[in-house]
Symmetry: C2
Subunit: 215 residues, 2 copies
């Protein structure tokens, strides 16, 4: 029930809560970004926040996003501040008190103003990063974008300069006096798993599942 670990807005707070700390090392940031498949993208539209799930990719210290060039795309307009958040839910923290219920998680929050890629080569590089993040191994397998498809796709690059990583792991942080309670406490682990590939019903016979999907 304690929402403080997840509701704080302080990007730099360190170790205020037991088992939780902001991280400043880049490797933790890269790990969180590289392990996830989708992010939540926040933009401001007419003064109000809008948050949508979308794919992304990372290469070095750049995060890539893409969208349709259509007028309805969140990313088709002029440069604007955005926020990209990637979260891994690792466990439900079951404390002796409701107040100290929480979650184990790893999150990365990136702020900045992305710039739109113009040249076909740089757009393809961004799309390659996005594909490798969403579906590793597919870039070298599937048909590459046609000029028309590429023209219909907006690709944005966002610096990872302003990024905040937060991690909470470990058992509940109950108050000392609550340890005497007759209440079970611990963590229910959560993880994301992949199932067996399901072929398109329209798949032509004789095309094997590529090895990168069976690992």
């Amino acid at each position: 029930m304690s929402s403080t670990p997840l509701s704080s807005t302080d990007r730099t707070r360190l170790g205020r809560y037991r088992n939780e700390r902001s991280r400043t090392d880049r490797s933790a940031l890269y790990e969180i970004l590289d392990e996830a498949r989708i992010c939540h993208l926040g933009v401001v539209v007419d003064g109000s926040p809008r948050v949508i799930p979308t794919g992304y990719g990372r290469s070095g210290d750049t995060l890539y996003l893409h969208g349709s060039t259509g007028a309805s795309s969140l990313l088709a307009g002029p440069s604007q501040d955005i926020c990209v958040t990637v979260t891994h839910l690792d466990g439900i923290v079951l404390a002796r008190s409701l107040f100290h219920h929480s979650v184990n998680y790893r999150s990365a929050v990136i702020y900045g103003t992305p710039h739109r890629l113009i040249g076909d080569d740089e757009k393809l590089e961004g799309l390659r990063a996005i594909t490798e993040s969403l579906a590793p191994g597919q870039w070298d397998l599937a048909r590459r974008p046609t000029p028309k498809e590429l023209a219909a796709t907006t690709v944005l690059a966002l610096s990872l300069r302003e990024a905040s990583v937060k991690v909470r792991q470990g058992p509940p942080s109950d108050d000392a006096e609550d340890h005497a309670l007759d209440v079970w406490a611990g963590v229910l682990p959560v993880r994301q798993v992949f199932g067996d590939p399901v072929p398109d019903p329209a798949l032509r016979p004789g095309i094997p599942v590529p090895p990168h999907l069976t690992g």
Copy 2:
């Protein structure tokens, strides 16, 4: 690679993409909300978007959020527009073309201005909904909030009136001419699973794991 399904801002678009449609029935909304454990909360701070993961709960057509009453909490300030997004990633859609790579997902996006609950009884009702969402079964087990804990907790109620549900399921939507390609196509299913409960190392001996955690 096709980001259009996830990047659209049009809340009411219907069936523009094969396999994808906006849903208007409440049951789809409830299902998406009730099945997830965390949401992504978007707010505007100094004109810029901020997106953080946090817990939530639902009761009827009300969504509950909570936060610390501390000054650093995103939710401690005056009434403001927020956006709450809940996403289930159900599969990676592997098309014959990179352009039609996508994801199968279910998402709910809720917009509105929440109101802060004041009375202890209504705050407890909100916290019960949040606990039942995050850790079903724990409300009746763990120690209830003290007056001090309750006073330190902000509880917000957000109407589900303005909610948008989007769902994409099914095989890739390749262009007809790409079906002749010698490329495997299909879906890699993704799901979230729970592991076995891990006891707090400080747990007193003889306290069994409650049944609602072993199912």
